[in-house]
Each structure stands twice: as C-alpha cells, then as structure tokens.
C-alpha cells in the first residue's frame, strides 16, 4: 500500500476507530431494542471499516445523510423511486461499487455508514421502525444498499452481472461484495462463481466473513463447506486467506484484485471479537435476544466497560 510508516499508522488508526464505533453502535442498539445481530458486528467490523476507509474508491457525500422514509416499492407508478446507493456517493465510471449480500448484516453496514460520515447518527434510531427505510433485513432502498440480496445467494449473481456490465463498458471502477460463510452452502453461489471465472470478471472482489457460525449453530455442525479455499480455487477464483481482524492483511488482500481471476478473500473472524461476553452464547450467535432482565443488565455492564 502507498504511504510511509506514518501514513500507514494513520489509516490503521482510522480503521480501528471505525471498527470500534461499529461494534459500539450495534451493541448499544441491541441493548436498546432487547436483541439484534450483534455477533455479525463483532466478526465483520474490521472488514467493513477497511473496505470503507481504505479499499473502496467511493465518491464522498456532502454531509452525513439522514435516510429518507420508505418511498414505496419499485413500479411503473413510483416515479420518484431510488435505491439506497446514494449513501455510497455519486456513481461514476471510476468509482467502486459496494454490495452487501447477507442483508442480515444491515445494521453493521448502517453503523459503518455512520462511522465513515455517510449517514447521520440519528439514522440508526430509525432502525426497524415502521415506515423507515432503515430496515432490519435491509432491501435495496435501505442506506448503502442497491440490490435485493436478503434471499441468500442472489447477491453474488447480481453483483457479477453488474461487474460484467461495467467491464463491457470499459469502466475502471471495481465491484466489491461482502458475503457470509454460510452462503457457500448455496448452489447459486457456486453457479455465480463458475460464471464469474468463465467470463473473466476480475474486476470483482468478494470479502467473506468466515466467522464459522450460522443460524442453527456452527457452520461445521450444519453443513460442511470446507475446504473453502480449495473449493474457491477450483472454481476459478484467486483466493487469499487472512485474519479478518487484521487491517493491514485485509487491505493487502484487496490490492490483489484485477489479476485475471475474480478475487475471493476469506476473512477468518471471531464472532465475539471485541465483546468477550458473547462467547458464552456459543454456538448460538446468529441473533442475540435477552432471556431476562438480569441477562440484559449483565450485557449492559459488559458493553459499557468494553466501550468506555
């Protein structure tokens, strides 16, 4: 990466600040609402922060945006419809594009947008509120989103179609996709990977939050996906495995995009990273819901001491 030691320290500091902010905002939100997708924030905070602060070339927004209310679904009659892509800045041939595949991570994305100055903090207060576009499992009108990806496995194919379109037009901007490891149980994911390789879509990079857990428990106990690196390699991807909490390693992996094969970065992560108390829930991390007031208070204590 560019820059001397000082520059590197600066962006890494920035990444650490953003990642910490993502965890804090999501944790506070979970406390406030009595539940939520908390482990996803813990495992993926560095991935989001490195993508937004270091890797992606996105146009800035003038000032932190307040999400517009839900503006209706797309239709012939809905002429003012727009997606939530404007949170990622004005599109251009040279700008990158970001797509979130598992929309269950929406709160993490929203928190990342707040921490990177793209969304006003009050936007998070609209989360899961009736009539709000800041939905729990976000849709294409939600902040930072522009495709329908909540039905898992469809995000990669749509992003690949966009990557092909951009390549056909000779655009230099790249397509970045965030995925979860559970999605590698889905047939469509592998259909998409074989098509990406076949059509030489090396302008696309995938960051996989390999936290090892899914709704029912550990991925290994639900349906084996290993060896994921060798599977991805066999399907034609350029595969890099990194510690998903190591900002430097994440950024270096991203720099390998464009080498003739689509890039897949397997980010080994921990679902309780930065919030040790979550470890006691093993293996049920998918959605944190407090079973008692006593439990909520214990979490409140742990969260406030973690983010003092």
């Amino acid at each position: 990466m560019a820059g001397g030691k000082d520059a590197k320290e600066l962006w890494q500091q920035d990444v650490r600040r953003i990642a910490r902010g993502i965890r804090r905002r999501v944790a506070e939100h979970v406390l406030l609402n009595g539940g939520g997708y908390l482990s996803q924030a813990c495992s993926s905070a560095e991935i989001f922060s490195v993508l937004y602060a270091r890797v992606m070339n996105l146009a800035p927004v003038e000032k932190p945006l307040v999400p517009a209310p839900f503006g209706g679904v797309p239709s012939e009659k809905n002429l003012s419809y727009r997606t939530g892509g404007y949170f990622n800045g004005a599109p251009s041939a040279g700008a990158d594009r970001f797509f979130l595949s598992p929309s269950q991570y929406s709160l993490v994305l929203y928190a990342a947008l707040v921490e990177t100055g793209r969304m006003a903090p009050e936007g998070l207060l609209q989360f899961n509120g009736d009539g709000s576009s800041v939905e729990m499992i976000g849709a294409e009108h939600s902040p930072g989103m522009e495709i329908m990806s909540g039905s898992l496995g469809q995000g990669i194919s749509q992003a690949a179609g966009i990557a092909m379109a951009r390549k056909r037009r000779g655009e230099s901007g790249r397509v970045w996709l965030f995925m979860s490891d559970g999605e590698f149980q889905i047939g469509q994911t592998w259909e998409a990977l074989q098509a990406m390789a076949w059509h030489n879509l090396d302008n696309m990079g995938i960051f996989i939050d390999a936290n090892g857990y899914q709704c029912d428990g550990s991925v290994a106990s639900v349906m084996n996906i290993e060896p994921l690196d060798r599977r991805l390699d066999a399907f034609g991807a350029a595969v890099v495995k990194v510690n998903g909490h190591d900002a430097d390693a994440l950024a270096e992996a991203a720099a390998q995009i464009g080498g003739g094969r689509p890039l897949a970065v397997i980010c080994a992560t921990c679902p309780w990273q930065g919030l040790e108390i979550l470890k006691e829930r093993d293996p049920r991390f998918h959605y944190v819901r407090f079973s008692s007031e006593e439990e909520r208070l214990r979490y409140k204590q742990a969260i406030s001491s973690a983010f003092q």
């Binding site: 797309p74 469809q154 194919s157 690949a160 179609g161 966009i162 056909r168 037009r169 098509a195 076949w198």
Partner: protein
C-alpha cells in the same frame, strides 16, 4: 396460409442488429431456443451462462440495472420453476427490463412432465411488475419483440419455435393488451391463446356452417388483463363464454376471464378448455392435444354442451378445414 420455420431465429437477428445493448443469454439451449443465428452474427453479445438458471436470472438483473437488455432464452419450465425466487427478487421486484423467452410452453414439447410448462402463467401472473405475453403464430413471434421492448419492466413471453403457421396478416403486429378479433358472432364468445388459437380456427368455420355464430378473440397479453375488447366480448355473449389455452385451467387465460367477469358482474356461463388440473406426459403435440382435449374437437364438444346439441362433425371434416395449415407434415418437435 403456410408454415414458416426458424421465425424467431431470423427475426431476432434482424431486429437486434442496431440494438447494441440487447444481449442474448443462453442456458445451454442455444439452437433449441433459436438464438444460434444471433450468436453467430453477434458473438460479443451472446452470453453463455451454462445450465445454471438461478444464477442466469439474477445475473440478468445485474446487467439490466446497468442499462443492458438481457434477452434470457431457455425452456419455459426452467425459467419459472427453476428460478422463481431469483425472478421475484433480482428481476421483478426492481422492475428491470429483463425479457424472458420461455420456449416449449404446455404440451408443445414431447419432453414429458419435466419439460412441460403447464402453470407458468399462473405463477408468473402473481408477480407484481410482470408483463406476460404469449405468441400464437409467426406474426406474433415476429412482432412480440417490439411489444416487449416497449416496456420498462420485466416481460415473460411464452414463445413458439420450429415450424409455425402464419395465422394473422404479417402487417398486423401484436399489440399490447389488445386482443385480435378473428370472427364475429353473438351466440358464444371464445377466447383462445397460443397454439389453441390455431385449433380454434379449424373449428369455428365448421360451427358457423352449423348455424353457431362465435365471436373469437385471440389473446396475447395475459398480464395486464384489462383489454376493453375482452370485457365487451364477454358482455355480448348470448349463451356463454369459452376459453381455450395450452395451460392449466387454474391461473391462466380462463381464470383471467373469470376474474373480469366476476368483477364486472357479468353472470355468464364459462367453460374452460385447458389442462384440467393434471400433469401431462411425453408424446407428440397432436396426440397430447387430443388426449387432453385441447384441440378443435374439444372446442366443438364444448360448444355442443353449452348449446345442448350435437353437430355430428367428424375428425376428417375438421382435418379438412381450410382455415389453417395441417401440422401433420411438419417435423415433430425435438429437444
């Protein structure tokens, strides 16, 4: 009237010449869906997606978001049964201009139940933003592209291939949401779609000779379904309405007509000719049309029941009907 061959193949190649953003997507059925001439003429705009329809459909959504017009070609069954969630969320929800060409609808394939799209209209019609068109002859096939391409949202076309009769004048294109009136009459109103129109056209002249006047409309737009010609035709029927379709009687043309009738408070008797809530098996088109009562004789029988009479028409008389060409000389549909 005559039979034509490879109508779509030749037409698409000509039509797409000056449309650089039109891409043809194939799932390993390139010749079978008549995009081989397009592939050879514009190899850069032909995108091979392999036997992977779910990815193909979401991928098409991605291309369409960026200003391309994916023309997805495969057998009808593999569009809606294999990739329904992908159509719903990657294409239809965002109202994207993906054009889906579903070949071998209903009993037009000898491929058996796995290949026979018998409820595609029913399920696709339930998707918001979706437009559904069905071709009944060579003129429909040649002009459906302009009709489909005039829409901003997704379109599903029940397409014909191989040898196709020309039933309608070449200079009268398929018009969105507008039925073609093929005969006028006040006794019975008949709505037919797809290949059933050809069958109906064999029977209606014979019925006229027997003194039954039939208002016959060929319907090519299944969604939206609010053509004023249809409403007027229902209202004018003296004895009742008959629908005739190469599809299940649940959720297709017959259901569309029933809905219009009920909403308009038009209490007409309705007979739905079509697949009577059954799967089908692999055999020739002519055999299946007879076995499942989708042919001209089935229409005559329905009219007889509606009027409580018998005309004594024989299969030979129907076969000799001059209205439409005989398919018996045509090559059977291969896969």
């Amino acid at each position: 009237m005559k039979l034509l061959s490879k109508v779509h193949a030749k037409n698409l190649m000509r039509w797409a010449k000056d449309k650089p953003n039109v891409l043809a997507l194939s799932a390993d059925l390139t010749s079978s869906t008549e995009i081989d001439l397009f592939r050879d003429a514009y190899p850069d705009r032909f995108i091979s997606m392999g036997i992977a329809e779910q990815n193909m459909m979401s991928f098409a959504g991605g291309l369409a978001r960026e200003g391309f017009f994916p023309f997805v070609h495969t057998f009808a069954v593999f569009i809606y049964r294999r990739a329904y969630d992908q159509i719903a969320m990657s294409v239809s929800y965002p109202n994207l201009p993906v054009r889906m060409f579903g070949f071998l609808p209903g009993i037009t394939t000898p491929g058996g139940a796995t290949h026979q799209a018998i409820e595609d209209i029913a399920v696709m019609r339930a998707l918001p933003n979706m437009t559904i068109l069905e071709c009944g002859d060579a003129t429909d096939v040649e002009t459906v592209l302009d009709a489909a391409h005039s829409l901003r949202g997704p379109v599903y076309v029940r397409m014909l291939r191989g040898e196709i009769p020309r039933l309608f004048p070449q200079n009268e294109p398929l018009v969105l949401n507008t039925a073609r009136q093929l005969s006028n009459g006040g006794d019975i109103t008949l709505f037919s779609s797809g290949i059933c129109t050809e069958e109906a056209m064999r029977a209606t002249p014979l019925l006229r000779e027997k003194g039954v006047s039939i208002k016959h409309l060929h319907v090519s737009t299944l969604k939206p379904f609010n053509d004023p010609l249809v409403t007027e035709a229902i209202a004018s029927a003296k004895h009742g309405v008959i629908t005739m379709e190469n599809h299940s009687v649940i959720g297709g043309l017959g259901t569309c007509v029933a809905e219009v009738m009920a909403a308009g408070g038009m209490g007409k008797k309705l007979v739905k000719i079509g697949l009577q809530d059954t799967y089908v098996h692999g055999a020739s088109r002519a055999y299946l049309m007879k076995e499942y009562n989708l042919d001209a004789m089935a229409l005559i029988a329905a009219v007889e029941r509606m009027l409580d009479t018998r005309f004594g028409l024989t299969g030979d008389e129907i076969a000799a009907s001059p209205a439409v060409p005989r398919h018996s000389d045509a090559r059977p549909e291969a896969l």
